[in-house]
Amino acid sequence: MSSMNKRATAENRFDFWEKRRGRIFSRRGGWIIGEAIYNCGYSMMDDLVGKASFFQVLVLNVTGRLPERRLADWLEAVYICMSWPDARIWCNQIGSLAGTMRASCVAAVCAGVQATDSPLYGVAPLRAGTHFIVEALALKKQGLTAEDIVERQCRRPGSKPTIVGYARPVATGDERVVALERVTAELGYERGEHLSLAFDIDAVLHERYGERMNIVGYVTGFMSDLGFSVEEICRIFTTVVNSGVHACYAEAAEQPPESFFPLRCEDIDYQGHPPRPVPDPDRGKEP
């Protein structure tokens, strides 16, 4: 290979990075000083402030699409459903613990929100829940019934199925589904095919196993009916527990430090190795 060719090949290798070096490219928008702050084709100060709600702009920022106002109202209802002032809930207790340690509110809420990045509760189940209902609808279109779909989720014949979006860790039943269903109707939404199937699955689970659809099942069915992708759904609900963490932080921060749920030494159940002497480092090495 000639030296010129070698140089050309090397330049091609770095083209991808060189084009981006020292520059930021945005399809979403930004601030042109003295002109406007652009966001997905809107001027934020002219077109959005005072005209669109916070949740409309949140969806715009996540998806690049400005939704209708009633969807923003519906999303706000979900955020209220998911933010309780109960310091036993894991993410909320992190807020309380941050408050009692006099961490800043910003740190507390960020930490609480981060805790919901969990497959057990919070935001991550939305991913699995959306995958499930989208795949379930595809199966239904292939001719399977809700009963068949539920049965496929059983690890072995006759066992209880585990389906994200149905059943909850601490309680059975979910009062938030009823509340959201009311909001959905008030806002004039029709039940689409994903959510209808979710209710069919709920009925099967209720009859056979005494389990009910939870808020994840409801939200993922509703959002899938509106055409949101898995990633979009997860991103829209990233901070869904935020105000519950706030409540728990505020309450603990207003009490004396380290007074939230204090533990005696004996309140921890030590199950480890009994006391033993520390051996000297081997090979005679000094630490």
């Binding site: 520059r23 059975t172 979910d174 009823v178 269903e181 204090p262 030494c265 480890g272 480092p281």
Partner: protein, 280 residues
């Protein structure tokens, strides 16, 4: 809504929760007159003060996660890895997050959590360490070169950007990252090195003709596997190892003016036309 869904009965599950949180790691013995204050702490049975007197930091770190003290060879390898990872460097996205926080006068106490959140990423971060550890554990019984050939045949090189053909292995900025490969070679020669480093070396060798090699998370993962750490610990340990450099760079910018870092002008912050066209 059916009648059944109108009023679901919400009841606490009949699940027994522990009355006390268990731990096998740490024992605290209270003082005689205050049940909240520990007079003595033990880590897996070893008195903290005795550990302070006799052992180095890497020993106790190893003990915390593995339940037993390391051999001197294991501690040497762990400490060498900790030094290798101590600073991802000023161009790493996690370091730049720390620097942004620093120059933005974010309270110093937040700099590390901010940077570590970025360092938790699946690409070159803690997330990739954990994935690599799982990949290595799955792959160790296979022939490394054959595994590489199989992946090369099956996987498709992305049209743009880098290619991580397997977690912990791939290209960086279009080439083989020399330092992780050099580090892996060094660690592989250490007495505590084991099957994961050996397998990774063979795998990287098979990938080299394709301009792919060890990445830093891959090296960290192989060392942690050989030292007996669980993959779940890998992501957090990598965050711990990189934390000093992240914090140092963040703090370095904290007492500098906000002009000490670039704030691009409009020629260099390029807004796509579609974002500027007003929608009515």
């Amino acid at each position: 809504m059916t009648d059944k869904t109108k009023a679901p009965k919400v009841e606490r599950r009949q699940v027994k929760y522990a009355s006390r949180t268990p731990t096998r790691i740490w024992q605290e013995e209270p003082t005689a007159d205050n049940p909240y204050l520990p007079a003595r702490c033990r880590c897996h049975g070893y008195d903290l003060f005795e550990l302070m007197a006799k052992r180095r930091f890497a020993d106790v770190l190893f003990l915390l996660f593995n339940g037993e003290l390391p051999t001197a060879d294991q501690a040497d390898l762990l400490e060498a890895l900790m030094i290798a990872c101590i600073n991802p460097g000023p161009r790493h996205p996690a370091t730049r997050a720390a620097m942004n926080a620093g120059v933005g006068k974010t309270y110093a106490v937040h700099i590390l959590p901010i940077a570590l959140s970025v360092m938790g990423g699946q690409h070159l971060g803690g997330g990739e360490v954990e994935e690599t550890m799982r990949f290595l554990r799955r792959s160790l019984r296979r022939d490394a070169a054959a595994c590489a050939q199989e992946l090369l045949a099956e996987a498709k090189r992305p049209a743009e950007g880098d290619w991580h053909i397997a977690p912990g292995f791939g290209s960086r900025f279009g080439g083989i990252d020399p330092l992780p490969n050099q580090m892996a070679g060094l660690f592989h020669q250490q007495p505590a090195s084991g099957a994961a480093l050996a397998w990774g070396a063979a795998f990287a060798e098979a990938l080299a003709p394709h301009n792919l090699g060890w990445l830093l998370p891959g090296v960290a993962a192989a060392v942690l596997c050989d030292l007996g750490f669980h993959p779940r610990a890998g992501s957090g340990l990598f965050q711990i190892f990189t934390a000093p450099g992240l914090l140092a760079h963040g703090l370095e910018l904290a007492n500098k003016p906000i002009t000490a870092m670039p704030f691009l002008d409009k020629e260099h912050y390029v807004i796509d036309e579609q974002a500027r066209n007003r929608r009515k």
